[in-house]
């Protein structure tokens, strides 16, 4: 009759123990910050992870035609030089790399292994960007976490579902299942001259600290950039109508393709959210930051460049606003209306 014994305890004590139990459970199970989540993250990187990460890094060097040796590998993987040398020995014994003096290069097997890992990585990044609401700054990390643990089949299934994407959300091409990848194109932003117009095709997501800064500045692949001034330690440009400047170090992390000047220079665009009830405007573009299902739905509703929208009603609680487009009233939340560029009609 243990339960009866408990019943005879003071209700105050019971109340307290109930609260404590809930607090402990919350501490353990809380997502992201809870003990359980921390524990699973603390588990050391396995040998397989190191191996795959090093192959990926070596491929990246090869692709960008940068030199690669034991020290840069150790630095990139954040391991000691001793450990890196052990790792290289292991790779060599598996015939994944060839060693030539100081330089390390991939063997054909090694290259195709690396391409497989990169394919998995970029497909998952695409998935996080389009089909989930994971933060932009976390796509890369999540993909890094997942790339060593998923099977190729699962990834191929995912790719098929998403319509076999060929670019990751940073603008990088995704290698095919057979392991082909196009030659790199474009130049890094620090090579552009004053008055040139370019479109961002790639933003390097490593190191994370720099990438996060670029994201905070509101830069994204697909964005048009107009260079206004190039100084020794500062590159100034206009992006989506906003003045922006970067140090050459940061600018080197952005790849752009040059756009012929015939295309309209991006001027400061107004946002749909600024349209007042009774006003009319023409849609200029949907921000590339609006992705996946949300973007598709907006386009389904007729929000495409060139279509006319007018704000007609406002919800009793202020948000969303009802916009008339192609003969229908569509409710759009201000958060989404912030991602639609317009040209106000007078």
């Amino acid at each position: 009759m243990n339960t009866l014994f408990i019943l005879s305890i003071q209700p105050g004590l019971l109340l307290l123990s109930g609260l404590i139990i809930i607090a402990i459970l919350a501490w353990i199970l809380w997502p992201q910050k809870g003990g359980l989540a921390r524990f699973s993250r603390m588990k050391a990187r396995s040998q397989r992870e190191l191996l795959e990460d090093s192959l990926k890094y070596m491929f990246d060097c090869e692709y960008r035609k940068a030199p690669c040796d034991m020290h840069s590998i150790a630095g990139n993987l954040d391991i000691s030089v001793d450990r890196a040398s052990l790792l290289l020995e292991h790779l060599f014994s598996k015939e994944l790399i060839t060693l030539d003096d100081q330089a390390v290069s991939l063997s054909d097997t090694g290259r195709s292994y690396a391409l497989r890992v990169i394919r998995v990585h970029r497909i998952w990044e695409r998935y996080f960007a389009d089909e989930t609401s994971i933060d932009q700054a976390d796509w890369h990390n999540e993909a890094c976490r997942i790339e060593h643990n998923v099977t190729m089949e699962d990834t191929e299934k995912l790719a098929a579902q998403m319509g076999h994407p060929v670019f990751d959300p940073h603008g990088d091409p995704i290698p095919t299942a057979e392991g082909t990848l196009p030659e790199p194109t474009g130049v890094t932003l620090n090579h552009l001259k004053e008055g040139q117009l370019g479109r961002v095709t790639h933003m390097e997501d490593e190191p994370k600290s720099i990438y996060e800064q670029l994201v905070v500045l509101g830069l994204y692949p697909g964005m048009q950039i107009y260079i206004t001034d190039v100084a020794e330690n500062k590159i100034s440009f206009v992006a989506d109508g906003d003045e922006c400047s970067l140090t050459p170090l940061f600018a080197a992390h952005i790849t752009v393709e040059l756009v012929s000047a015939k295309e309209p220079v991006v001027s400061k665009n107004e946002l749909l959210s600024s349209l007042q009830v009774g006003e009319e405007a023409e849609v200029v573009a949907i921000s590339p930051n609006c992705r996946g299902q949300q973007r598709r739905r907006l386009m389904d509703m007729g929000i495409v460049p060139g279509s006319l929208v007018s704000a007609v009603i406002k919800s009793a609680s202020g948000d969303p606003v009802g916009y008339r487009v192609l003969g229908t009233t569509v409710g759009i939340r201000s958060r989404e209306a912030d991602l639609i560029f317009i040209n106000r009609k007078k």
């Binding site: 579902q161 998403m162 319509g163 386009m299 389904d300 007729g302 003969g327 229908t328």
Partner: protein, 263 residues
């Protein structure tokens, strides 16, 4: 044809010909697919023709599962497949995949596209996409009563000429235009009316270039394929079912012109 067509009284006489079959669909002469945007009264048209009673609400996206029904018209037995209502056929969502794949692989004899006359422009987005896939379609211009009430006038003849398919004005809620619709379906199914569907213009040179390159190799590999342009475009969109059909060669069998009936 024993029954005279193109007369004013046909609607009355033909009502008797329209025997509702319910869902007895073992042997049919023609398969009809029904596509359209959500909330265009597609289900109402479907119910009118088949005698089934799917719920129709004034709310986009009511029909989620694919419904099938049948009817007999002028001694011919028709099976009707109500596809999920979609705004487009270009994305990877399940609804759009079901609709897209049925129109391509299911090879319906006729595709009836139900559109909302009051929101024609937006609905045309889907219509033009369907006309890229199939050559045999009929447009049911539904909710004409509502369009009239709202002072909208639609030039049916010009619309039919522009799209290259029969256009039938209807008000399914009042059961108006149903017989004319069936007549048009019959004419397209029997080949009396030959559609010349509108094809999309105004694509960029870069895209057209890529499409025509693929079209050439597709035409070599699948000589009977009629809608190579669309298939090429789908390959560029990375459509998995089309990629698989090219890989396995199944694309060749659907283009042979057989009106295979697929469940």
């Amino acid at each position: 044809m024993n029954t005279p067509t193109n007369c004013e009284s046909c609607a009355m006489h033909n009502k008797a010909n329209l025997v509702k079959l319910g869902i007895n669909l073992d042997e049919v002469d023609y398969v009809i697919a029904m596509a359209g945007n959500p909330n265009t009264g597609k289900s109402t048209v479907f119910n009118n023709l088949t005698g089934l009673r799917q719920h129709t609400g004034n709310w986009p996206g009511k029909t989620v599962t694919r419904a099938e029904g049948g009817f007999v018209f002028n001694d011919k037995r028709y099976k009707m497949v109500d596809l999920p209502g979609t705004y487009s056929l270009l994305s990877t969502s399940t609804d759009e995949e079901v609709a897209r794949n049925f129109i391509l692989f299911g090879q319906p004899d006729v595709t009836v596209i139900v559109v909302d006359a009051t929101r024609l422009e937006r609905n045309l987005n889907l219509v033009l996409q369907i006309l890229e896939i199939t050559d045999r379609a009929v447009l049911c211009l539904n909710l004409m009563d509502e369009a009239k009430r709202n002072n909208l006038e639609i030039d049916v003849r010009v619309l039919s000429k522009e799209l290259g398919i029969p256009v039938i004005p209807a008000s399914a809620r009042r059961r108006q235009g149903m017989t004319e619709l069936l007549q048009a379906v019959e004419e397209v199914a029997t080949g009396k009316y030959v559609c010349r569907p509108h094809k999309i213009k105004g694509r960029s040179a870069k895209l057209n270039n890529a499409i025509s390159k693929l079209e050439n190799s597709l035409a070599k590999q699948f000589p009977n394929l009629t809608n190579t342009k669309w298939v090429a475009l789908r390959l560029l969109e990375g459509d998995d079912s089309i990629i698989e059909a090219v890989r396995t060669g199944d694309l060749g069998s659907i283009s042979a012109g057989e009106s295979g009936i697929q469940a």
